[in-house]
Amino acid sequence: MTSDPPQTGGAAAGAQALAPPRTTRVWPGALAMALVPVLALVAGQFLPAYPLRILDMILLYAILGLGLNIIVGYAGLLDLGYVAFYAIGAYSWALLASGQFDIHLPFALVLLIGASLAGVAGILLGIPVLRLRGDYLAIVTLGFGEIIRVLMNNLDGVTNGPQGIARIDEAHLFGWTLSTPQDFLYLLVAMLVVVFLFVWRIQESALGTALSAVREDQDAARGCGIDTTRVKLVAFALSAFVGGGCGVVFAAMQRFVSPESFTFWESLIIVLVIVIGGLGNPFGALLGATLLILIPELLRAYADYRLLLYGMALVIIILARPRGIISRPFGPSWLMRRLGGGKC
């Protein structure tokens, strides 16, 4: 995704606009997209375990970013409690595939259950809070994230409280055992592709149009006949669904969960992934996740100053690219225009 031609000038853009509308050119975008999994798969063959684990985390956060993007990037609703859905997914695997209650469900099933539970939680959260806008919504979702964490911390009988749940089953997916970072790399690449296509479909569909309208001007959207409340609920549910799925994978990867993994800090990181990368832009999530996971790893040598440098790096990025690194919104159509010269 690097062979962008230089930005077209005003005159050229005008001439392009005069051309009759063409149908979507899929190939350039698909090609750029295919590059990511290919690179990851090659890396999986050659890299040792430690960098692979980092790569896994990058992919996981990229997927989380894609999911959060549905609600923050497309619908324009700042959700600071996204980690709650991630936690619901993680605890689904921890409780349904461990010695905790001696339940051992298959991974694929729990992936579905965990994602669906999170989706339902998204709707339940959405119903009361969607009347709120902007800062108010952000605060309430932040509270929701904390409530879920506190709940996990205090439901000793179910979640083991702060001690967390260990002895979680090894995941098996259609006869394939998921244990090494390499196994998870393949799983996560597959998930990334699926979620990417999922998000792309949303963006290019009437649902995406409706969500963008809600983001731009909610009242005018309603005036145009958009059922803003339900559309936002759908966005919440889809976003939460992705978050839940990530949680299941996270729990399967760590084979240990505790409330500590689901603090507000995590929510903030996921928001940063998309803000840094570029809001409403699927490629932005990938780029943002890479930076946010990689920078602290690279700074390990400077342990004492690590957080300071990390913070400084983020501030510099925000100063240099206030609208995210890939600042042009609405990714794929834009990318295809850039790569293919066509319109969508």
Binding site: A213, G223, C224, V234
Partner: protein
């Protein structure tokens, strides 16, 4: 047909709209005029569902709008433009229009998204948007970001967005405000071209020249009440109303006094003269 039935709107102690009743018939252009604060925009905002009514009813083809959720009003056949342009600035022009064609049922929307229903519907919607854009001379700007267009073009995009869904009632809230002479002339041609037997158009405007040249019937409002209603010719003939509209000192008071003096409510059929309503 858009019908106002004894509509009243109270903002605290202020009666912004006071027992207003009139009909907006399809096939013609109805202008609503009056000085600032007469209640013209309040009327539009109530019809569009932005404000509730304090009492009375507003109906589109017999459907009472106040009983519908706000987003349903568009599906009942009412579309509007805004006094201050309210486009979806960050989206392309054609996407702005597509918003008005998004399927109303959310279940259908989700099914559409994940490919369970044919894509033909989406293609058709898009074609319809391009069609409307072409009719308003906006085809070259279809892929441009709406917020980046010139003011006059944005006004036209708003008009395009309002008509793309095929409304039966179209509310135009000061469409010519801020337009230069040439743009106003262009707008006039477009509005006249929109006139159709099944479309009731309401035009709220300050540009008297535009109103007089395109309105079939005119409703004069003042202080929340309908002062007079008649054809453009009737209103033009009535110098008092013109003065009231132009805001000459004392003119409105004179009209009110004249109307009060009559006490009897004279109803004259359209074309035969002014209809005076008791204030």
């Amino acid at each position: 047909m858009l019908t106002f039935e004894h509509v009243t709107k109270q903002f605290g102690a202020l009666k912004a709209i006071d027992d207003v009743s009139f009909e907006v018939r399809p096939g013609i252009i109805t202008a609503v005029i009056g000085p600032n604060g007469a209640g013209k925009s309040t009327l539009v905002n109530m019809a569009a569902g932005s404000y509730g009514v304090s009492s009375g009813r507003i109906l589109v083809d017999g459907v009472e709008l106040q009983r519908l959720p706000k987003h349903r009003i568009a599906h009942a056949g009412l579309a509007r433009t805004y006094q201050n342009i309210r486009l979806f600035d960050g989206m392309s022009v054609v996407k702005n229009l597509e918003v008005a064609l998004v399927p109303p049922r959310v279940g259908r929307l989700v099914a559409d998204t994940f490919g369970l229903t044919p894509r033909a519907a989406a293609e058709e919607r898009r074609a319809r948007c391009h069609d409307v854009l072409a009719r308003l001379g906006l085809a070259p700007y279809a892929e441009r970001q709406a917020g980046s267009l010139a003011y006059g073009q944005q006004k036209l995009v708003e008009l395009a967005r309002a008509i793309v869904g095929g409304p039966r009632v179209l509310l135009l809230d000061e469409p010519a405000a801020g337009l230069n002479h040439g743009e106003t002339e262009l707008l006039k041609q477009h509005i006249l071209a929109l006139r159709a037997p099944d479309l009731a158009m309401v035009l709220i405007e300050h540009d008297m020249k535009l109103i007089m040249s395109i309105s079939d019937t005119i409703v004069v409002m003042n202080r929340g009440q309908v002062l007079a209603q008649g054809t453009a010719a009737d209103i033009r003939a009535n110098i008092e109303v013109q003065e009231a509209y132009l805001g000459q000192p004392g003119a409105i008071k004179d009209i009110e006094a004249a109307a009060r003096g009559r006490r009897n409510r004279v109803r004259i059929r359209e074309g035969e003269g002014l209809t005076w309503h008791q204030p």
